[in-house]
């Protein structure tokens, strides 16, 4: 029999262990980062760029496999292919059975889309992949650019694929004072779109004009947008539902708190809640309360506690030796319960930087996740701020409230929608 190459495999880090267990057709755990250029995308050049990029990110060649106790990533020799965008936004990638790559690169007119199954990477990790892809693409496409490197490309291959959770957290549970039993958060209801499609509404505006507005309330961009979103959801609440708080789950990129450049998952969550007393709560009050909660929760110590708690569960021997199918079941139940403690989520990918040579060529970036409830994703590139609201529902009232709040403040908005 033929001698064969040693096959590399990697266990999943704690944050991604949840996704293979809890994906469903309604919630395939896929997110998308797109980059819009000033020119129509060429398929052949994009494929060349992808061929180069995949060599920089060997982990993206992995397929997801089931072990007896855990899922794991296994290296494959599948060659990724770019394709014209022909599937719904954030269509399922991992569907349990077939071993296939965990990401997809597609394009439509001037846009290049990278869609990723969340077990492979988080937004920041995937962004690194897309940035590299765009750099390669533009360099191949035009002879004007040579020797361009990404600002954050100092990372070695092994640090890109490291499991930062294991590196920075030791696990173990410190007794955390719980502020009472977590209350059930308000849940948004609506009419589901057919085929589990999702409605994506992207608003593009000037970062500076939104920042100016945020500064009027002496707050940051994320807090400002979170407050507006909470306010927009609150405006649609029925009076008798107001006993439940509107809670936003906000993922926090841990790379900024702990030195790490991993292209895999490395994030934690904070929960920001607001209880509407009456219909007339002014926006300023929502912003003030949100600001306070952000300050309280966004400390390295608090994030440490949350992540250590996760790791403690992973390291618990009993939870380790439970067979995978049973583990799947428990995780599914747990995530369903956890979902009831928040109304929606807001994820800010932050400021995306590209080499200055590409200034006129790259128009904007946008970021969205698949949604089993309306949720918001934000990213910015230069002065272009993209706020995407994805929703599984036909109704667009929350989106309308949100964008009208911004346009009433005199901010000029361009909206694009997929349906």
């Amino acid at each position: 029999m033929k001698q064969q190459k040693e096959i590399e495999w990697t266990s999943l880090e704690i944050a991604s262990k949840l996704y293979p267990a809890t994906w469903s057709l309604k919630d395939p755990k896929v997110f998308r980062i797109s980059c819009e250029l000033d020119q129509i995308v060429s398929m052949a050049h994009l494929q060349q760029a992808l061929d180069l990029t995949i060599d920089d990110f060997p982990l993206y060649r992995c397929v997801l496999k089931r072990g007896l106790f855990w899922y794991y990533l296994e290296e494959s020799n599948i060659q990724p292919k770019v394709s014209p965008e022909a599937k719904a936004v954030c269509a399922p990638i991992y569907m349990g059975k077939k071993s296939d790559l965990l990401f997809r690169v597609s394009f439509y007119r001037k846009r290049i889309n990278l869609e990723v199954f969340h077990a492979l990477a988080d937004g920041t990790g995937a962004l690194l992949f897309l940035q590299t892809l765009i750099c390669h693409y533009l360099t191949i496409k035009s002879d004007d650019f040579t020797g361009i490197v990404l600002a954050n490309e100092h990372s070695s291959l092994s640090s890109v694929r490291e499991n930062s959770f294991d590196k920075y957290f030791i696990g173990g549970m410190r007794k955390i004072k719980k502020p009472g039993k977590p209350k059930k958060a308000y849940q948004i209801r609506g009419t589901r779109l057919s085929e589990n499609r999702m409605q994506l509404i992207e608003g593009v505006m000037s970062t500076h004009s939104v920042l100016r507005e945020a500064h009027k309330y002496q707050t940051t961009l994320t807090v400002f947008l979170a407050s507006l979103f909470i306010y927009a959801i609150g405006s649609e609440m029925k009076a008798k539902k107001r006993i439940h708080p509107v809670v936003l789950a906000i993922p926090v990129n841990l790379r900024q708190y702990f030195q790490s450049v991993t292209a895999r998952n490395f994030f934690s969550y904070i929960n920001i809640g607001y209880r509407f007393e009456k219909h007339t709560d002014p926006l300023s009050q929502v912003i003030r309360d949100t600001e306070k909660l952000f300050k309280e929760q966004l400390t390295a110590e608090n994030l440490n506690d949350v992540s250590n708690k996760y790791l403690a569960i992973e390291q618990n021997m009993l939870s380790r030796i439970i067979l995978l199918p049973i583990k799947d079941l428990i995780l599914r139940l747990a995530s369903r319960l956890a979902k009831r403690q928040s109304t929606s989520s807001l994820s800010n990918l932050g400021i995306i930087t590209m080499p200055p040579e590409f200034d006129g060529i790259i128009h904007s970036f946008s970021f969205c996740t698949n949604a089993n409830r309306p949720q918001m994703n934000v990213c910015s590139y230069k002065d272009v701020l993209t706020v995407s609201i994805s929703s599984p529902f036909r109704e667009t009232d929350i989106q309308k409230n949100f964008f009208r709040l911004l346009s009433q403040a005199g901010i000029s908005i361009e909206i694009a929608a997929n349906l």
Partner: protein, 222 residues
Amino acid sequence: MQYCRQCHIHMRGSRKRCILCGKTLVSTDCQTDREEVFPEIPPTYERHLALRILVFISITAIAVSLALEMILSTAVNWPLFVIFGVFSTWLGFIVVLWKRHNIPKAILWQVVIVSLLSVFWDWQTAWRGWSLEYFIPIIYVAAEMVMYITARAMKIRVREYITYALLDSIFGIIPALFILFHLVDVLYPSIICVTVSIIFLAGIFIFQGENIVKELKKKTHL
């Protein structure tokens, strides 16, 4: 670009109405930049025709057999056979659908199901012993061959099928028990089956032992 006077927003693309409020949009400038940002994705109709036909045939067969039984009242309980037949077909069909992305696994599952069914059928039809004497040994050897040939033909990597080949060869030893416990009168199919399986097992362990160890380590990491 177009504009919504209610929401005070600009709308990209060529749509007629505001996505937020549903009001008709007005053009602010003449005709520039109406190009779409997202492609239109047509609905995907799921193709379940084969499944529907199978359901239809199953129900028809059971209904007709029940009717014939009542009209003709034969000695053999035909409806029972038809129901078992339908059940067996479905079992096989479901397993193939379920494991279709992993052919070695599908083969292994089929072997288990078909051998259990054969014993059941044999037992239901006055136990003539054909299942243990001929059917099971033949099916085990066939599975070993089929697995090896498909794996080579489809260029499935060794480590992808090695665990299943191993399990399959272990199944192949089972007919030894038939001989030991005097469950069979015709011995040669069982003897051949056990011999072939031992050869297979030896081959797997001697040439692919490291692969099996690695595969097991991976599958059972804690």
